[in-house]
């Protein structure tokens, strides 16, 4: 425990800490995931889907905005441990990806011929381009971090925006590919390859999406001149993780 952590701790001793941000994010997530999903898939009610989804988005955005603002203005009890916490969280992420890959391997190694019937020709060009984009984006966010380290905020903002554009391009290519394959009648229910393909690439894409959302949460206050360095490091480390996982996703699903 560092001494400055102690110094800030004394300021805490006289009142109960509170924040409405965590509850707002949870409530939003509750409406956005379980309720919206069930309204759409289970009860087939488009009105309820729209209401729950809309309410969820508003609550999540409000909660995240408040949370980010508090993270920028308040002094934490102990500084700079989020850069330790995030890698610990990533251990969990690794295990969830491992479970998905294990499921895929079990299916794939259990059949005699691959790809299974109903699989169209899947382009290897698109994943190659996507790999180049994602690797490049890992470098661009690193350059951005270096700029921030040297006090060059406009440089940081510039490279962060470039990273966000690259990430969005990656997601766009993914959507393009899905669209193309669905037109060739390759949908999640087609066969075990489509099962694994959409589940694993989709799960990875959701991580890219979260990474982009975090970058935007870094970018908006940064444009106004406010940054929390630990938050930037966490966003960047998470992005590198998403990048590394992509190598496994691409090599297992496209190039094996």
């Amino acid at each position: 425990m560092t001494t400055d952590a102690h110094a800030s701790a004394h300021a805490h001793a006289h009142h109960w800490e509170w924040s409405w941000a965590p509850m707002a994010v949870v409530a939003g997530t509750f409406f956005l995931l379980p309720i919206t999903f069930a309204a759409f898939f289970v009860y087939d009610n488009s009105m309820a889907t729209a209401i729950a989804g809309g309410l969820g988005v508003v609550l999540v955005l409000a909660g995240v905005a408040k949370w980010v603002d508090e993270g920028l203005t308040q002094v934490p009890l102990i500084a700079n441990v989020s850069t330790i916490g995030l890698p610990i969280f990533i251990v969990s992420e690794i295990f969830i990806f491992l479970s998905l890959f294990a499921s895929y391997w079990m299916m794939r190694l259990g059949v005699t011929s691959w790809p299974p019937e109903g699989t169209p020709e899947i382009s290897k060009i698109i994943p190659l381009v996507m790999t180049v984009i994602l690797v490049t984006s890992s470098f661009t966010i690193h350059i951005g971090e270096e700029k921030l380290e040297h006090g060059d905020r406009s440089g940081f903002n510039k490279w962060l925006i470039i990273t966000i554009v690259l990430g969005t391009l990656f997601l766009g290519l993914s959507m393009y590919e899905y669209n193309h394959l669905i037109h060739l009648d390759f949908v999640p229910s087609t066969n075990i390859y489509s099962t694994a393909f959409y589940s694993i690439t989709g799960f990875h894409a959701s991580h890219v999406f979260i990474g982009l959302a975090v970058f935007i949460a870094v970018l908006i206050p940064s444009l106004g001149g406010r940054t929390n360095k630990a938050f930037v490091t966490c966003a960047s480390v998470y992005w590198h993780f998403v990048d590394i996982i992509w190598f496994f996703v691409a090599s297992q699903l496209y190039f094996w």
Binding site: M1, H6, A9, A11, H12, A13, H14, H15, W16, E17, W18, S19, W20, P22, M23, V25, V26, A27, T29, F30, L33, P34, F37, A38, F41, V42, Y43, W67, E70, Q74, V75, P76, L77, I78, V81, I84, G85, I88, F89, V91, S92, E93, I94, F95, I96, L98, S99, A102, S103, M107, G110, V111, P188, S189, N191, I192, T195, Y198, S199, F203
Partner: protein, 536 residues
């Protein structure tokens, strides 16, 4: 988290806001306590209904098998996921772990609040199953193909697991960072409380294994609603894949519950016996971390009867039996802590001592279930049902209730001990034995578990009578217990700051209950300090 400049604005904060939106670990602990006890109450009522239905052959109170499945689903899921895990790693760890290591809060207070609300919204989702059409009816295990083909709303089950799982993973991250970085200056690893060690181990298990459960149920969601084929053998999937993924998490989950319960027992035994923890290092590094080391390679014993290859069954038989070694080390340490101890028998201690019996009984009856040959006979009988209730449900719940009595003066400034507490303890202890012993006996004789009507086994009816009486003795005991908790919190006998003369920081350095920031001065300990430093 507020800067000093913001303090003035907080002077007028209404109390309900400070509670509802709290980021203080103690208040979050209390929120966990209230939520987990409410879940215990509802799931306990379900158990009473289940027992009433089983009392006689034929249909009694429940109108259909689906309704019975719904009760079993809620009882199991709520007891494990909403009572035991949040009670032990939510309430007890939140309230007392930072106090024990001399920290002013956890490393990420807002994420801590995020975790507790994930837990509450998961309970809301589970409770919604009482009002929605097509409620989940898939037990707490959710095995396919039934969970995929049923008309029930499997998605709520999946999302309940997601919310609780995410809550636990973030809790794990939070507490691991807290213990690594926020121990009081001077506090070495071998000076940690046993409860701190067991909780850290439980969080390591949560961190590694929950994602696997999350993946398993997510694939269930994909299979049911998006038409994928992970668990569909007709298309090349594997229905046993789910059971493998599920038990790869859910067996370690037993230790997620078991370990913090053991930690609480050590706190009580050492304090009430005025004795240092016997064989501390062996218990920590051999017992606790031994369990963590083996936890992930025993899950096949839940699948012995599903047609696993023999080499896999034998391998997991060996590892399962091997678990007895670290559990044995821990048990030995608990008994050793009582050796030549100056024991004070109060309610906390009575629960702790009863746990020594429950761990022995629950542990020994598990050995036959580690053996594939015997499991072929015992699987899916009420023997299994009785075994896991003894080791998991009763042992852990008794340890948790013991912990509540032990820490009650710290949380409220008042004792919960007294004649009512003693009476409720004996009701609970006698009741659980009357309930579950008959189930062992008829299980060996072939009584299947999960049956709501056992017309083909009328000879077991008298045993079911006894078991049902037992359940109602427990019900009465629990009613007394909760009445006592509420009464004592408001009007119980006032307790001094350290009523048990403990050496642990939560007793020696804080108010009852501790205020914001926990400690008046920063805590510093030297190398001779120990939470179990009782001079002879």
């Amino acid at each position: 988290m507020n800067t000093p400049s913001a303090t003035a604005g907080h002077a007028a904060t209404p109390a309900w806001k400070e509670w509802l939106f709290t980021t203080d670990h103690k208040r979050i602990g209390v929120l966990y306590l209230v939520g987990s006890m409410a879940a215990f109450g509802v799931a306990g009522l379900m158990a009473l209904i289940i027992r009433l239905e089983q009392m006689n052959v034929g249909m009694q109170y429940i109108t259909s098998g689906t309704q019975y499945n719904g009760f079993l689903y809620f009882h199991g899921a709520a007891m494990i996921l909403a009572f035991l895990i949040p009670g032990l790693t939510g309430f007890a760890a939140n309230y007392f772990l930072p106090l024990m290591i001399g920290a002013r809060d956890v490393a990420f207070p807002r994420i801590n609040a995020f975790s507790v609300w994930l837990f509450y919204f998961a309970i809301v989702l589970a409770l919604l199953s009482f009002v929605i059409p097509d409620a989940p009816d898939i037990m707490w295990t959710g095995y396919p193909p039934y969970s995929i083909t049923t008309a029930g709303n499997t998605s709520f089950y999946v999302f309940t697991v997601h919310l609780l799982g995410f809550s636990s993973i973030l809790g794990a991250v939070n507490f691991l960072v807290t213990v690594i970085y926020m121990r009081a200056p001077g506090m070495g690893w071998n000076q940690l409380n046993m409860f701190t060690w067991t909780t850290v181990a439980a969080f390591v298990l949560q961190l590694i294994f929950i994602p696997v459960l999350a993946a398993a149920v997510t694939l269930l969601l994909f299979d049911k609603y998006l038409g994928t084929h992970f668990y569909d053998p007709s298309a090349g999937g594997d229905v046993l894949l789910y059971q493998n993924l599920f038990w790869f998490y859910s067996h370690p989950a037993v230790y997620v519950i078991f370990l913090p319960a053991v930690g609480i027992l050590f706190e009580i035994l050492s304090t009430m016996g005025k004795n240092a923890v016997f064989n501390y290092k062996a218990a920590v590094y051999g017992g606790i971390w031994g369990i963590v080391g083996i936890a992930g390679i025993v899950w096949i014993h839940h699948l012995y009867v599903t047609g696993m290859p023999d080499w896999l069954r034998l391998g997991h038989m060996v590892t399962t039996l091997l678990i007895s070694v670290p559990v044995g080390i821990l048990t030995l340490s608990m008994w050793g802590t009582l050796w030549k101890a100056a024991i004070t028998y109060n309610t906390a201690m009575m629960y702790a001592v009863s746990c020594l019996y429950l761990i022995l009984l629950g542990g020994l009856t598990g050995i036959p279930l580690a053996l594939p040959s015997l499991t072929l006979h015992l699987s899916e009988t009420s023997y299994v049902h009785a075994h896991f209730h003894f080791i998991m449900a009763l042992f852990s719940a008794f340890a948790l209730f013991g912990g509540i009595y032990y820490w009650f003066p710290k949380m409220t400034g008042r004792y919960a001990d007294g004649a009512v507490a003693t009476l409720s303890f004996w009701c609970n202890f006698i009741g659980v034995n009357v309930t579950f012993w008959p189930l062992f006996i008829i299980g060996v004789e072939g009584m299947p578990r999960r049956y709501w009507d056992y017309q083909m086994f009328p000879q077991f009816e008298s045993y079911h009578h006894i078991a049902t009486y037992g359940a109602f003795i427990v019900g009465f005991g629990m009613l007394l217990q909760f009445g006592n908790f509420i009464y004592s919190a408001v009007a119980g006998k006032k307790a001094p700051l350290n009523p048990w003369n403990s050496q642990s920081l939560e007793w020696t350095h804080t108010q009852s209950p501790p205020g914001p920031g926990n400690f008046i001065d920063d805590v510093v300990v030297d190398e001779n300090w120990s939470p179990y430093n009782y001079s002879k």
